[in-house]
């Protein structure tokens, strides 16, 4: 992302909007400037800030006049008054930043928007996490810190060294040059993204071992880690295996994503149902 020097009036609203804190008002130019090494191309500023399309010269003049009266021209805090944010054309490897950071861009490897993984969300159809297995989503970078791929690689290599299976249908896995070792391709190791999710699946007995490994690695990497643990419920809808392990490790289970098991191999064909009365009507007219 870049900010047009001719349009920016230095109101500073985009500095607050940036989740990475990568925008600042340069004291020399008095214009908002993007620290491109820290910018993750999430487009939160471009997509999230409202636009007023005011002429920059008019705004600058108003700001100057008002400042003489000790007043400030203040657009609402979620507005860029002059439409000064301009997306940069992105090429490899920088384009990876946007793919992982802008939730509106679907990942090519999975076709899923957001962070690009289905986890247990469609488990009743995909059987991604089978009975007796546990799926870990290890997310890096949130809230508000970001992560570089070499930091993710520390975790992926540590887990791969334990012989665990790294989930193949996942955008981070698609960036690996060697899935067996968890090695990520060299040309993107220093790229920074807003967040990314590493996914593994292990037998339930290995739950504690994985969590202890995550604890050890996350202390070495300068980012935030958040863990999600997915599993199948029993026939009666209860989950009596994984929760006790997590609680014994000191976790208080508060929030969860619950799959209701309502997915079917055949999606209900509402279009056909809706079309039937119309067809019948046509037939009766013809008769």
């Amino acid at each position: 992302m870049k900010i047009s020097e001719t349009k920016c009036v230095g109101c500073g609203n985009c500095t607050y909007a940036c989740p990475m804190g990568a925008i600042y008002v340069d004291p020399t130019t008095r214009k908002a400037t993007v620290n491109s090494d820290e910018c993750v191309e999430c487009y939160a500023c471009y997509n999230g800030l409202s636009k007023e399309h005011l002429p920059p010269r008019t705004v600058r003049f108003t700001r100057r006049m008002m400042s003489k009266l000790w007043l400030r021209f203040e657009p609402d805090p979620d507005i860029c008054p002059t439409d000064a944010l301009e997306p940069d054309p992105l090429s490899w490897p920088r384009v990876v930043r946007r793919a992982f950071s802008d939730p509106r861009v679907p990942h090519e490897s999975t076709g899923v928007t957001g962070r690009g993984t289905e986890e247990v969300k469609t488990n009743e159809i995909s059987n991604r996490i089978a009975v007796g297995m546990v799926g870990f989503t290890i997310e890096f970078g949130r809230p508000g810190v970001g992560v570089r791929f070499h930091q993710i690689q520390e975790m992926s290599m540590a887990l791969a060294a334990l012989g665990v299976k790294i989930q193949p249908k996942n955008p981070v896995t698609a960036m690996m040059s060697d899935v067996e070792t968890g090695k990520i391709r060299d040309d993107i190791l220093n790229e920074k993204v807003l967040s990314a999710i590493l996914e593994i699946t292990v037998p339930v007995e290995r739950t504690e071992e994985i969590i202890r490994t995550v604890w050890a690695v996350e202390k070495r990497i300068d980012t935030i880690v958040v863990l999600g643990v997915g599993t199948r419920c029993d026939e009666d809808g209860e989950e009596r295996v994984v929760a006790p392990i997590l609680e014994s490790l000191g976790y208080t289970l508060k929030r969860a994503k619950t799959n209701l098991g309502l997915g079917r191999p055949q999606i209900r064909e509402l279009a056909r149902e809706n079309a039937e009365p119309a067809n019948q009507a046509q037939e009766s007219v013809a008769a």
């Binding site: 607050y16 999430c42 999230g48 409202s50 636009k51 007023e52 399309h53 002429p55 657009p75 805090p77 979620d78 939730p103 509106r104 899923v112 928007t113 957001g114 962070r115 289905e118 969300k121 469609t122 488990n123 009743e124 159809i125 799926g135 989503t137 997310e139 949130r142 809230p143 508000g144 249908k169 999710i197 996350e218 935030i224 880690v225 958040v226 863990l227 999600g228 643990v229 997915g230 419920c233 809808g237 989950e239 976790y251 289970l253 508060k254 929030r255 969860a256 994503k257 619950t258 799959n259 209701l260 098991g261 309502l262 997915g263 079917r264 055949q266 999606i267 209900r268 064909e269 509402l270």
Partner: protein
């Protein structure tokens, strides 16, 4: 969808937070056109007082505004979600979500969704207890569960916990902590109403899972610095 899962807060702070979403499975695992079923999901949601609805590509009921002439700078901007706009803009099959703020609405909606049997995968992202109550009310059992273990190293009583609670309400990280802090400060200084700042934060959420009712409550609590 880790973006609905990892919300910062105590279990009690999710009392008015039910994110329910529908999606088709990828990779040819299902047959049939998911688009009408996804639309139906949102149409049904509208009968049960949702506080937000949206899809993962176009966003939720409160979106950024675009002025067409300079005088609009002085006009009031909408703070209420526009659900009709969401419905009019639906297109690609992606994750569709509806957010509810009361137990009654969420449970009644889940009950209806079970009856409709759309064939889509339906998930509830909320406190474990809230989701279990919804299942019980609808007479179904849970298939799978994905626990959030929370942000490693960040405790429930962390400084700026209100900021974390607001900014993690967009799990894609589109709501910056600086903006959340600024919004709370503006309310504390009485320079803006909770409704106005809630709408401002909502506009950054790109898939309609932001819960404006919970946000308003957190902002009100932050005004007096209690949790």
């Amino acid at each position: 969808m880790t973006n609905t899962l990892h919300r910062y807060g105590t279990a009690e702070s999710f009392k008015d937070d039910y994110v329910i979403f529908a999606l088709p499975a990828k990779g040819g695992a299902q047959t049939g056109d998911p688009k009408p079923a996804l639309r139906r999901f949102l149409e049904i949601a509208l009968d049960y007082n949702p506080v937000n609805i949206g899809d993962a590509i176009h966003g939720g009921g409160t979106r950024p505004t675009e002025h067409s002439h300079a005088m609009e700078h002085f006009a009031r901007r909408p703070t209420k979600p526009d659900f009709q706009r969401v419905m009019d803009g639906l297109g690609e099959p992606t994750t569709y979500s509806a957010v509810f703020a009361t137990r009654e609405d969420a449970e009644a909606f889940v009950q209806r969704i079970v009856e409709e049997d759309l064939g889509l995968s339906i998930n509830i992202s909320s406190s474990i207890e809230n989701a279990q109550n919804c299942c019980k009310a609808a007479g179904i059992t849970r298939h799978s569960v994905g626990y959030s273990l929370g942000f490693e190293g960040i405790q429930d009583n962390a400084p700026n916990r209100h900021v974390l609670a607001l900014s993690t309400m967009c799990g894609h990280g589109m709501i910056s902590q600086s903006l959340a802090k600024k919004m709370i400060d503006m309310v504390k200084e009485n320079r803006a109403s909770p409704d106005k700042v809630t709408a401002a934060l909502s506009r950054f959420c790109s898939c309609g899972i932001f819960n404006p009712v919970r946000a308003r409550r957190i902002i009100e609590e932050a005004r007096k610095k209690t949790f």
